[in-house]
Symmetry: C2
């Protein structure tokens, strides 16, 4: 009863699952908090955000300002990449209440001598309250003494000034100071967690010769190419020794030829496990040179973290209790009954109800091992089939030591499972993007991601394809489909990715499936990325625009505008100050020309429907003027299936 909050503090946003999970942001970015704050009766209240890096004792304070209907908003800008905490305080603002009362009575001609006396008491009562600087406290004491001696007119003249109000705001007593019940957590990541362009390759296919296993040196030779396309992250499928027991052959067959390299996801052989390098790729020295060379090209290496083991993995002999064994003494293979995956076995994170801490630490140590070798980004294979508590512990433990490590969850499963993985710590998440093709689907999905709680928890990475996903749409779309899906991924999401082959519109499936025919997963490939019809120019353009237009470096800053044609997705991305304002019109029909009238969002600049606005065509690179809100576009997919326009803020040259 005595400690209860007199001022109500409710409805904090973001607050994830009652504070169970942290919200996410990036360093240097304003983190916005909203909250309902109100008191009883007519007194005015004030409120502030308290925030600090985890482990720091003192709070920083950021102001909250009222919006409407008892809703308040404020922000702070964390600069350290590490866990943070925030909460809300509020108090009865007795001096502001007093000022308002006195002003009203003064204006109504009511006597205010007693009220002014009460005002002097408020100042006196704040002397020594512990707030403000020493100098401000001294000024408060002087003010109190002077006012105690002063007459009514002087009291009114001095106490009602903004200067006195400002002093009281900084150094005055906060009546009935109330603390929100919970301290909330905030994950502050480096920018690459929210904004990155990935290029995925299999190092073994980089020799340019299907008869020669690629090496790290071959990859080094490819770096200028990848960097030239403008990517930030170069992601490798697993680089570890590959098991031979039950090895898969070409096109996922069970009858491999003697020289078939096997799936790189069947990790572990006599040559080592997750902390070893497949000998044909090179040595740790080679890897070190590769990481350094990538860095010189502005590229960061991301590794695959796939927890399963081949039957030849050293752990199976060394750690019998980390695996499930059957009554006949055989090991339990991974399966999705009645299907069995006999080239891999799963570790078990629990023995019955008991976690296996040694295994958890060993798994964590694999990450720390590669961090020590210069890798800070991990794409995690199938995390939804491993225990949630393991991820929550492991990611927190690694990031406590290395806050700049980034984990991408490769889960394609039910929505709540994917969201849970994001909440328990994954910094990025694969998405449903590859299966969202229509205007309605894309609009609904983006609205869910950018307007619900997920905007604080789940950072999607829109891969246009992966070694496992050859999207059905692209199997028949031809080149225009590849172009438009690229533009969508690169502009809709902060993080996006391309798996090699996409740039040459590789499309041939295992018939009737979403799998690539002759997949690299089971054989060496040699790619010719110079072949005619490639879309390297589109890729380079999109990556360049992402780097040069701040509107593309945020995620939730999207608006869908009116285009009277369901085959054209039309949306804007803009910074809060409108200095960067891009419009995208992307055709979803790769076969036919599509035309439509559409609305130029003149109202966003406060312009009337008849106004004119300067526009830059960022693809064709020229400027023109739109007169009036309704314009028309015709998109010939074979010429260029998308338009990208920049609106020039008419309110000033920025």
């Amino acid at each position: 009863m005595l400690a209860a909050n007199r001022v109500a503090i409710e409805g904090v946003d973001p607050e994830i699952d009652g504070g169970r999970f942290p919200a996410k942001t990036v360093a240097g970015h304003p983190f916005v908090v909203e909250v309902d704050v109100f008191g009883d009766g007519h007194d005015k209240v004030s409120a502030a955000i308290l925030w600090r890096p985890k482990g720091v004792d003192n709070w920083d304070e950021a102001p909250l300002a009222p919006l409407v209907n008892d809703r308040w908003r404020g922000h702070f800008v964390p600069t350290d990449v590490m866990g943070h905490e925030y909460t809300i305080i509020a108090w009865r603002d007795t001096f502001e209440s007093w000022r308002e009362e006195v002003a009203k009575k003064h204006n109504a001609g009511v006597p205010i001598a007693l009220e002014l006396e009460e005002g002097v008491h408020l100042v006196r009562g704040s002397v020594g309250c512990g707030r403000g600087t020493v100098a401000e406290q001294a000024r408060l004491a002087e003010l109190a003494a002077a006012m105690e001696e002063a007459g009514e007119n002087e009291r009114f003249a001095v106490l009602m000034t903004d200067k006195t109000a400002a002093l009281m705001r900084r150094a005055g007593r906060r009546a009935n100071l109330s603390h929100y019940e919970r301290i909330l957590s905030l994950t502050v990541d480096r920018k690459a967690a929210a904004f990155s362009a990935w290029y995925e390759m299999m190092p073994r296919s980089q020799s340019g010769d299907v008869t020669r296993h690629g090496t790290f040196d071959d990859v080094i030779a490819r770096l200028p190419y990848v960097a030239g396309l403008g990517f930030d992250v170069l992601y490798f499928t697993p680089i570890h020794p590959i098991g031979t027991t039950n090895r898969k052959g070409r096109n996922n067959s069970l009858t491999p030829a003697p020289d078939d390299p096997g799936s790189p996801y069947a990790i572990g052989s006599a040559e080592g496990g997750h902390d070893a390098i497949h000998p044909e790729l090179g040595t740790f020295d080679d890897f070190k040179r590769l990481v350094a060379a990538a860095h010189d090209h502005g590229l960061e290496i991301a590794l695959d973290y796939a927890i399963q083991c081949s039957p030849d993995h050293p752990w199976i002999k060394a750690h019998h209790d980390w695996f499930d064994w059957r009554p006949d003494g055989s090991i339990k293979f991974a399966e999705n009954p009645p299907k069995k995956y006999e080239d891999i076995v799963n570790v078990r994170f629990y023995e019955g109800d008991r976690p296996l801490p040694a295994l958890w630490r060993a798994q964590r140590d694999i990450i720390l091992f590669w961090v020590a070798h210069g890798v800070k980004i991990f794409r995690v294979d199938n995390p939804h089939t491993k225990a949630f508590p393991f991820w929550e512990w492991m990611i927190d433990d690694v990031r406590t030591k290395h806050p700049d490590v980034i984990f991408l969850a490769e889960a394609f499963t039910r929505p709540k499972v994917m969201h849970r993985l994001a909440k328990i710590g994954f910094n990025q998440s694969y998405s449903y993007f590859t299966w969202r093709n229509t205007k309605a689907e894309l609009t609904e999905y983006m609205t869910e991601l950018t307007t619900t709680e997920k905007r604080h928890t789940m950072r999607v990475n829109f891969f246009v394809n992966t070694p496992d996903i050859n999207p059905v749409f692209l199997q028949t779309s031809g080149r225009p489909g590849f172009q438009s899906r690229l533009v969508l991924a690169a502009s809709l999401a902060g993080n996006y990715g391309v798996y090699n082959g996409y740039e040459i519109c590789e499309w041939e499936p295992v018939p009737g499936k979403e799998e690539y025919l002759n997949s690299e997963k089971y054989e060496l490939r040699a790619w010719n990325f110079d072949q005619p019809g490639n879309i390297r120019e589109d890729i380079a353009l999109m990556n360049r625009l992402r780097q040069t237009h701040p509107a593309l470096q945020e995620f939730a800053n999207i608006a869908f505008y009116q285009m009277w044609n369901d085959q054209i997705l039309y949306y804007g991305k803009r910074t809060a100050d409108l200095s960067s304002f891009l419009l995208f019109a992307v055709s979803l029909d790769p076969h036919n020309g599509q035309g439509a009238h559409f609305e130029v969002p003149l109202w966003e600049f406060g312009l009337g429907d008849d106004a004119s606005i300067e526009v830059e065509d960022l693809v064709a690179d020229y400027s023109f003027t739109w007169h009036g809100k309704v314009q028309h576009v015709y998109i010939d997919p074979h010429q260029r299936p998308y338009f990208i326009w920049r609106l020039v803020d008419p309110r000033g040259q920025r």
Copy 2:
């Protein structure tokens, strides 16, 4: 790490502000809980609700069943009027997962001998796990022993039966048993908290003679009238001694005549305070007879709890520190600057930051005093101008001793303040109903109340008028407006109320205001409730329908249906089993006839658009048949501004 939940439990509904506040329900009513539950990987999971009265050690368990997309639903039926707790448990259902795996493999013709051996191990592993009855554990042990001896065919035949599954469900081990992080609170009220019809009167105006102050005996004489109208609760404005200092005169004037009785809200005189009875009303013995007589008429007495004091209240001398004093030694009157209310002063709940526990207890004791005198329902005047922590403590303290006490919050203020009062303990809340007149306003408001979190926290009481609210709509609507607003209140809300005079369509305002002219608040009145044009029949009808049709005894069971006329509000109320299904068509236009086509919700019964359905007209009391979904109604407000139909469930005589 070790204690973390392997099975995810999220999104519990209801959960009010992360568990900070209780949800509300009534005894004997199914309390429905929904939650997201899912595990990692492919294993099946199961889940249950745990619930118990507060202070009880053991949990009761109620099952949860999956809906779609990892959402689960279940319910329990609390029977005790007191605080309860509930939470969620979930576990990996290893036996059900095993059954599914074996069934799939068996159907695919895969060998299952090892799997059957694993099934035997699951049974053996549950022996002695502590679940189920002694007999069930004995059967488990027998089963395990028998299966260990059995061959493959017998194992398959026995282990795969539903009988074995049921035994394992009841007595088997629950793998990775996970507990939701929070224990949630639930307020279980008696039914009258959610379903009641109030009649408000001023006892002093019940003599039938404006020159004679009414008494409790006069009220006793009025009981047959109120009971005859079908009300449950008879609510009195304050019955305490009234101050004389700065007493208000007729129509809120500052110049009272010598015989003016004053506002009953100026509580306290030399004759006593909140625990005294105004002498002209009678004695405590009279009051006791009144409570008993009301009870005999099926009526419960509700009292007004208005915390303010007249300047003559005994507390002002006895408890100097409970009031705010000004620098000149004068008492601080209630005010809304620059307005002053010189007939009342407020107590202060805090002296600076320090609560005043003696005052809090004294306020609580007033409630306990009247509870001891047989009163269990309190209408609280202006709770939003008193400190929230006081209410939260006081209501909880009183209801711990007397769980059947009901508090109605008379706050007409900003929405979040009103909601907070509901969350901190008020069992009922006044509402915005009197200011919601159009079809859009009523639909939006009801949708907010019945589909958001408020359905679990805020039980509105729809008063059609009060001594302070003479709704503008009724000032010009004439009798039809009174009828339709009555029907709306009585059918839309579980709790509704009528202030006397409504039944004779009393409408005359202080010009330009929402106040009644010659308000009873400042003078004695004599009412003639028999006067022509009264709507007593409508009132009695509505109260009778409320008692006899279960659909009207719930709140959130409303659906708005299609009526192609914005002047007619058309909605259905129905029980979950459809055995009670009422339709209301209420004209919002009190002046003109309104007709429209409308949709009969045949689909709710699974009927096609061409089907026929039996209908009872509950006002005119006859039956007929509607053929087809679209029907037409014409409402002449001067004849009867509303229709009420009961749909007879065609799927069987119920």
